[in-house]
Symmetry: C2
Subunit: 679 residues, 2 copies
């Protein structure tokens, strides 16, 4: 078959393709990534493009996602459309653009609670610390001059030391390598007690390098294990400031990477994108199945590597640094994601007795995995607890610091799986429940991640609706925090009942589409897409199931531990809700228990925060090892009371209203108020 | 130019070559190595071949090495002869064959004193031990079954452990890697206290491997640093017996390699060959100069690598094992040789202030140096003391065990450089003198290394000469031990005087060739080459200089340490003399001091013995590090008394006869006896 030319607008990018290829695949190898949550299955409807010239062949799956008008205008789902033997021209609408996501998920992850710690009460600060110095002392530059001890509290996994070596003489005849060691010991207290090692390749060309640079060199030392610091490269001159690390949250759906200046601890940039593995399956199970097929594992490992590389490339470009300035990477992901990243077969994780290849991972040479970084950069993965509790949870516990303190706290990580950890510095117990992706924007008609145009905050006051969007852009959808707000407001305004069913059909924003009632948050005229952003009764059902699963899991776990909510010193909430989760509203809908609000803290992407901490502190990495070792997994599915609790939770906030006294009080108050204003 | 065909006889090997190429080069790329001590400079005369058909172009350098008859018969020096634009046929005489050397230097190295330790008095045994268990207890197999503790005294740098892992179950859900760790800890006490590490590549495919082999695997663990044992490979099934190491003496001229079964400690084979670097220069200095030229370092590193590989290939073939069974290599060589082996630029060793790149070397991946072994095998080099005292000396001290004991002993390593170490477990001092290669067969008319046909022992009784040759072959030359014998006998028989000058011209074996008197040890009719094996007055001069330098160095060093010869508990003599050095004769000519003979012990190739010890024992390797750290270098050249001592030593045995009372007594007795029998 002769190739045809596909032109993508508005860029005008032209690429050769073969008849029969899907537009999604062509976009992929053209390097033009578009949204696609279902891995090309035609079930998410996110990959809309418009064929502006030429004909295509598309499947009937379109019909559920595109209106008649749209179909007539040439809109198709890229994943369900094959090109024919003729040149075509395709326009990519802005809302389908992945780039938007890359830029705008800064909102999703820049809620860097470590850097906002001044907001906390002193007592809370204490409760949160993993590595106090690292967090609360603004880390300054490592050295002001060659004489100052660099042996500071900021001890990233990889450190660079600029050394001005004394020239050798007949009375000082140490070898080149031992001269470097001596200087390292002189300037860094730590190395007076630890034995230094060197990667053999550092010796190649070392003699000439030292002499060419007049005995001024920079040694790069990896420190993950304090008992074996290793010199992995020696550069001429002062390169001590060119030391960057990347912290990576390897999510099943989304990958977020932060570029960190390891000489100061500062976050230099952040990028996020879809995990390209979604092309091979949406969830962990389908990826594991795909990995079992011929070449499947290699494809998945390559896909996540390519995803990370594209983020790293963006970070490097944005920061104006070079790839070889990246000396170290730390990744946190669930056990399967970590296996796939490292090229390890996850198939035995899936089948009884559910065994992983490893839970604690050796350091990997980043170059061996094809990652874009210094040729001798190392990739560290945060340790997993078990096949079903991964490094992302270890990272979360590390980030919130709950394992440092005598009082019992809880971490709730709401994602496709809801994960709950309860414990203190003596013990940690965790469980996992299937929460569904509703709070991340999945399974919700207008749901989306917290990208530009996502409604992140909603107020309904009588007939009026006020909303805020990410980036103050025209609305395109609604993200987790917006959904929590919307549900709470709809209940408070008695537009829906506590089962999530519409009751106030007369409200001007309530309409029925395809026999499903929905509430319009943004009118078509206001939105970027020209279509209303609405929340349907079906969406409400999904959200109630999600929040119900999380609360039920938490209640069963606490019951089994014989602890009540009130015994919890703190509850840390993590997940992809967006930048600002309204804790009050989350309690109001029964996602979180009704305890004093100051004890609940939204910490955003705790997997990323934990990875960053581990990257910045060998001590934190060691703690992550301890956390993973310490944690016990509690299997919910063998506890029949979970189902009972789950059913009891399918109410807003809960069937047992006595569990939510403050909500009850507020509802009563609201109703009184409403009856006055809106009848 | 059209290539021509060169046929080598007796094999009949045919190879294409270009007119103008030297026969030595053609032989080299045909894989037919022949003797060649001077690196193709035409000054050693060892590379004789016979052109049996066709014409060649040869240089005038031949004339010094070939007789008129030989020239007429077609003999040429391969290095000085270029082929012309016609096919030729060349016969390689047996004495020029390198293979002879490979087979026969077993004599040179099989004097494995560690294995003959029963010859020693118990008190001496004590004095010799570095690692008593390793040496004196015959190491048995590491395990009789899976349950026996393998935590034995034999702890080579690389160990293999066969593990039968319990199958995972719902009540035993450790990850694959942690399952291996648990089993290693169960069976090996050592690993209960040490933290195990794993090379990341071991995880690739591990899940499938374990299950395919029914949870029976062999883990290969490298142990050089006891604080960081590292699993470097995991094989399916029981491969614990396929664990071999190679100990290598990287000499400037000769490389000797022993294959060691690391599961038993047994020496399985030994091979020796010329260091192919001799093509680029005969001695250390000329190699350093060559290394400075464009591509020089790479050529030298490749040459020594190729030399080692050819030995390893031979060892592997001989033992019927596979290359990947070799998990570990330990090399001992002088500082420059070690640098060239590892690809490190030696140029700054040569110029003031004489700085090496490193004296203590990180572990190198053998594969990165192109060495034939397991892809993840490691090459360890014994640490050097300084730019001029190398790992071969560290190895020697380790092998003789002098650094383990309170009494002061000495090690004398006689090679091109004579090296002397004096000390005990508290201190070690060493010096180096230029002894010349006479005792290794260099600079001596009929000198050769201790290969087949070398006269290794000589008795002269009146007119009668008795000699013994290596391999009981027809004599081809004379090796170090034979030279020591011959000189002593010539003095005792008063054929030469104590200055090394001939005095008994009437002796039937004395003749004058080219105005130089010589003593014929083997008549032309007896020898393999058809030419006499003789020792000339010039040879005697060289030998006296060699032995004088060694003794003078020793005396100056002792004087400066304020120690007398009689304070030395033991003198260990190492070097390429051959298998059996007659200590009495060595004292008689003044190479060794006149102390009670039982305190002097010839230990053969101590560099190889030390490398083997370090390979077989992590503890021994650690000791080698200590030895190198402990040793102080004593610079002879700045001590004017050295020259005085050297001149005083240019006498047989010494100008101060009172230093050699037993020799004096024996001379007097001999003379009386001789005057009766031979006038």
């Amino acid at each position: 078959m002769t190739p045809v030319i596909v032109t993508f607008l508005p860029e005008g990018t032209k690429i050769e393709a073969r008849p029969g290829e899907s537009i999604l695949d062509i976009l992929s190898y053209a390097g033009l990534d578009i949204n696609n949550q279902c891995g090309g299955e035609g079930v998410c409807g996110k990959c809309r493009v418009k064929v502006t010239r030429g004909r295509v062949n598309f499947s009937s799956k379109h019909l559920g996602f595109l209106t008649k008008n749209e179909l007539e205008a040439g809109f198709v789902l890229a994943c369900q459309t094959e090109i024919l033997a003729e040149d075509i021209e395709i326009w990519i609408p802005p809302e389908s653009r992945k780039e938007d996501m890359q830029i705008l998920t800064q909102y999703d992850v820049s809620f860097d609670w470590l850097r906002y710690s001044d907001e906390l009460a002193p007592e809370q600060k204490q409760a949160l610390t993993v590595d106090e110095i690292l967090r609360y002392e603004a880390p300054g530059p490592l050295d002001q001059g060659p004489d100052i001890s660099r042996d500071r509290a900021l001890r990233p996994l990889c450190q660079k030391y600029y050394l001005e070596l004394p020239h050798p003489s007949l009375t000082d005849t140490l070898s080149d390598l031992e001269r470097i060691y001596r200087e390292l010991r002189r300037t860094v207290t730590l190395f007076q007690v630890l034995r230094l090692r060197t990667h053999f390749s550092c010796l190649w060309g070392l003699a000439a390098k030292l002499r060419h640079h007049d005995w001024k060199v920079t040694a790069t030392i990896h420190l993950r294990d304090l008992d074996a610091p290793t010199v992995r490269s020696i550069e001429g001159g002062d390169a001590s400031k060119q030391n960057y690390g990347v912290a990576i949250d390897v999510g099943t759906t989304t990958i977020v990477a932060q570029l960190i200046d390891l000489s100061t601890g500062a976050v230099v940039g952040v990028e996020a994108s879809q995990n390209r593995q979604v092309h091979y399956g949406e969830d962990v199970i389908s990826r594991m199945i795909f990995a079992c097929g011929h070449g499947g594992l290699a494809s998945l490992t390559e896909a996540v590597g390519v995803s990370i590389n594209s983020l790293v490339d963006g970070l490097v470009r944005g920061a104006g640094i070079a790839h070889h300035d990246i000396t170290c990477l730390v990744a946190a992901g669930n056990t399967t994601m970590t296996h796939l990243l490292l090229g390890l077969d996850p198939r035995y994780i899936r089948v009884e007795p559910y065994i992983s290849t490893a839970n604690r991972f050796p350091r990997f040479q980043a170059a061996e995995l094809g990652l874009h970084a210094h040729p001798k950069a190392i990739l560290h993965c945060l340790p997993c607890v078990s096949s079903y509790v991964g490094g992302d949870i270890t990272a979360g516990v590390l980030a919130c610091g709950m394992s440092d303190h005598p009082q019992v706290s809880a971490l709730i990580d709401v994602g496709t799986n809801g994960e709950i950890v309860i414990g203190n510095r003596e013990w940690l117990v965790c469980c996992s429940c299937s929460a569904g992706p509703a709070f991340e924007g999945g399974g919700v008609k207008c749901g989306m991640r917290a990208m530009r145009g996502a409604i992140e905050k909603v107020r309904i006051n009588g007939g009026k609706v006020i909303y805020w969007t990410v980036g103050n852009a025209r609305p395109r959808g609604i993200c987790g925090s917006g959904l929590v707000d919307a549900v709470a407001e709809l209940v408070a305004e008695q537009i829906i009942d506590q089962n999530g069913k519409f009751i106030k059909y007369e409200h001007p924003r309530v309409q029925v589409a395809d026999e499903v009632p929905e509430f319009v948050l943004a009118q078509p005229a206001e939105t970027e897409t020209g279509e209303a952003v609405a929340i349907t009764e079906d969406d409400l059902g999904n959200l109630i199931k999600s929040k119900g699963a999380v609360l039920a899991a938490m209640r069963v776990l606490l019951e089994n531990l014989e602890i009540s909510f009130n015994d919890l010193k703190n509850i840390y909430v993590a997940g992809g809700f967006g930048a600002h989760l309204d804790i009050d509203k989350a309690v109001f809908i029964g996602l979180l228990p009704d305890i004093p609000r100051e004890r609940i803290r939204f910490i955003g992407n705790s997997s990323l925060a934990g990875a960053r901490l581990a990257l910045l502190s060998t001590e934190a990495f060691r703690k992550a090892d301890m956390i993973a070792k310490q944690m016990t997994y509690f299997e919910l599915s063998v506890h029949p009371e979970f189902m009972k609790e789950f059913v009891a939770s399918l109410f807003l906030p809960h069937t047992q209203m006595e569990l939510f006294p403050s909500v009850q009080k507020s509802l009563v108050r609201r109703r009184k108020h409403a009856s006055k204003n809106f009848t």
